[in-house]
Symmetry: C2
Subunit: 122 residues, 2 copies
Amino acid sequence: MAWILDDSRPIYLQIEDLIKANIIAGVYQPGQKLPSVRDLAAEAAVNPNTMQKALTELERSGLVYTQRTSGRFITEDVSKMTELKEQIAREQIQLFLKNMEQLGLTRDDIRRLLEKEWKEES
Amino acid sequence: MAWILDDSRPIYLQIEDLIKANIIAGVYQPGQKLPSVRDLAAEAAVNPNTMQKALTELERSGLVYTQRTSGRFITEDVSKMTELKEQIAREQIQLFLKNMEQLGLTRDDIRRLLEKEWKEES
DNA sequence: ATTATTGTATTACTTTATTAATACAATAGA
DNA sequence: TCTATTGTATTAATAAAGTAATACAATAAT
């Protein structure tokens, strides 16, 4: 895993995002055990508490769970994962629409702009 | 103007957003003079420095400009305003698409989800 | 039973961000 | 010219956030 961190944002948030992205992308498989807090911290070259913070935050999302003395695991509950993805997507969409509406854009404007963007991306 | 502020985010950011929204919505007309920093601060019941910070931030967007001793004005340059709106929209779109792609969603997924959201909103 | 490994809690240090008090500077307007 | 009004700069006070050091607790593994 590429622990590329900068100082634009808090370390623990960057770590959380990296791990979350890897889980969603399927790099970490359901049920898989994560390395220990200390190991992950060493890997990422951060203080264990910082890694701990990232992980407990991540846990609130339901993507991982803890077994007190054996470690942390990616949830096996694939439907929970799907559900979560959908929830995140919905939130993203609603935020996006709110922002666009604040700019005075109509639904058609938004449709048009998206297609334009995609066209330009190729 | 309704200076409804809470403590969820820094005051100066909330003020900046309020004013920006009003400009974009056309509540403040191009060329119009804004009240002085001190007057606005009194209106919003915040420290003048806080209002000052909100305004200088806002200025970076190009929506307002300053004349040293006569005050601040909404830009008369309507095309600049349009341009800015378009730029903000583009940024919003790109961020949105990046986030959605990270969730593994395709263009069709996105189209579908948007239409679904709009349908639900009625 | 003992030990090594796991996550957790507590506390303190440090840094950054936010807000506020105050003084300064420029000039429009009388 | 003088004064009131404008934005600005400087500095300090406060609060919040982030990171780190260290000790604790539970249990799986031996």
